[in-house]
Amino acid sequence: MITVERLTKRYGGHPAVDDVSFTCEPGTVTGFLGPNGAGKSTTMRMICGLTPPTTGSATVGGTPYRRLGNPGRHVGVLLDASAQHSGRTGREVLSLAAITMGIDTREVPKALDRVGLNAVAGKRRVKAYSLGMRQRLGLALALLGDPAVLILDEPANGLDPEGIYWMRGLLRDFADRGGTVLLSSHLLREVEAVADRLVVIGAGKVVAQGDKAELLAQTGTLVRAADPAALALMLERAGLTGTRTTDGGVVVPTGSEVIGRAAADAGLVLLELRPAGSGGLEQMFLTLTAGDSVKEAVR
């Protein structure tokens, strides 16, 4: 269980994370979504006690991270797969962590095997690893202490489609056995496939959070007409504002009946009228966070 309460981090006057609160329950995967620079990594670093928050607090299993005596045995953390000494072998990276956590180093080959790295890969230096292999090594490190909570920042980066599929299975299984997973991404599709809950963050603020199904249900109606111009006119007359999708449809934040009636009254031919689902969530995601990615801060 992860509890984040009103976390705020300011750099100078600029709030990188602004009053963020959410909880991750055991048995669930929480997707932490937002464009680059939205404050996902800063929030995760604050949860893990690496960055002191300006205000607010976070606990893991009811305890602030920094007060966990041997945190590796409770929380598996992967914040940046590239943050490993390039001159150390993969096996050595895990051995150091194992000794620190008080785990038999004979577990290390098993841990490597669990993430699909064989003995040859284990003996190679991290310098020779691809980003995908580094992510696997990072996951092995996170899972090494047999934790109850996983905190993963963009773990799918650099994994091939097969690797992403494998990771989803691993996280799903971890949660199904009662574990808590917090997983960040800037790609909605990637998280949608595995998450039970979503927390969407933009410009440091939580812009939406809740059950994935609920969020998907709330995102409005997708409508497509034979005559797009007439549809736009009709929506305007009905006082509805829609957002255009890339493939010519319009997502309108209302139920399908309202639009259907308005279209019938206007004698408009509709080609498509359905709940917007993830397409709507993506639209919302883009709208709510528009412009943030270009302003991505360099610290």
């Binding site: 269980m1 006690g49 991270y65 914040l79 943050a83 000494h85 620190t100 956590m101 047999d146 109850a148």
Partner: protein, 261 residues
């Protein structure tokens, strides 16, 4: 690739209180000194250079100079110069290679990691002194067989003073590393700054008295000669406070506060 998943249930354990023991952390820090290419080669070079000092003594020194004491004194030189670099890398690599992210995630009490690094530094300094003693003994046996003096007399103070000097310089390296958190910068500063001070002290008359107390290169010269006086120890103490304690204190403060990203 497929992977076998373990079947036990993940659950937060109740025994969350006990921190990672310092002994375990020290073992980890010692291991980190030698488990990278840079660290391992540095140790190999120190070993070869120390063997080299014995070879030079046996090959070129006068017969009278080929004693256990002489071999030990000269043999301490390579490790006195190069071991501090290992200390520097121990601190800086965490940040330049960004392993601090893993280290401080596994051990949020950063001061414990720092203490383990200092302990590892002291242990490696002791180990190198012991190794140098052993090597000097072997070389001395050879010296005796090859017609050199081969005398075994050594002032006990020389061993302790040599050990103290090794520890001092390794701690100075750790201090510079922690303060600057950047490998090339810390290595250059470690070698250049004291030397610059030595040159200044020798050129500028007004600084000469101060140099006798502040210049660590000058004050530690006495550590290579038997039976240091109280005055000499005091001078070592003052210079060490400036070159070892101050960087170490500021460096630890910096590491404790710095945001890890």
């Amino acid at each position: 690739m497929t992977a076998v998943l373990e079947t036990q249930t993940p659950s937060v354990r109740s025994e969350s209180g006990r921190p990672v023991p310092l002994g375990r952390l020290t073992v980890v820090e010692l291991r980190k000194l030698a488990d990278t290419r840079a660290g391992l080669w540095l140790l190999i070079v120190i070993g070869l250079a120390t063997v080299g000092t014995s070879a030079i003594m046996l090959g070129w020194a006068t017969d009278a100079e080929q004693t256990f004491e002489g071999l030990f004194g000269f043999g301490m030189l390579p490790s006195a110069v190069l071991l501090p670099v290992l200390g520097i890398l121990s601190m800086t690599a965490e940040w330049s290679q960004r392993t601090a992210l893993t280290t401080f995630t596994l051990v949020p009490a950063r001061e414990r990691v720092i203490v383990a690094k200092l302990a590892a530094g002291v242990i490696i300094a002791i180990a190198s002194t012991v190794a140098t003693l052993a090597l000097a003994a072997v070389a001395n046996l050879l010296a005796g067989a090859l017609g050199g003096d081969g005398g075994w007399d050594i002032a006990g103070s020389l061993i302790w003073q040599g050990l103290a000097m090794q520890v001092l310089y390794v701690l100075m390296g750790l201090g510079f590393g922690a303060l600057l958190l950047n490998s090339p910068l810390a290595i250059v500063a470690f070698f250049a700054l004291p030397t610059v001070w030595t040159i200044l002290g020798e050129t500028i008359k007004a600084l000469r008295t101060a140099t006798g107390w502040i210049d660590i290169n000058t004050t530690t010269t006495a550590m290579g000669e038997a039976n240091m006086t109280g005055d000499e120890w005091a001078r070592v103490g003052v210079s060490a406070a400036i070159w070892v304690l101050v960087p170490l204190a500021l460096g630890i403060w910096r590491v404790l506060r710095r945001e890890v990203s």
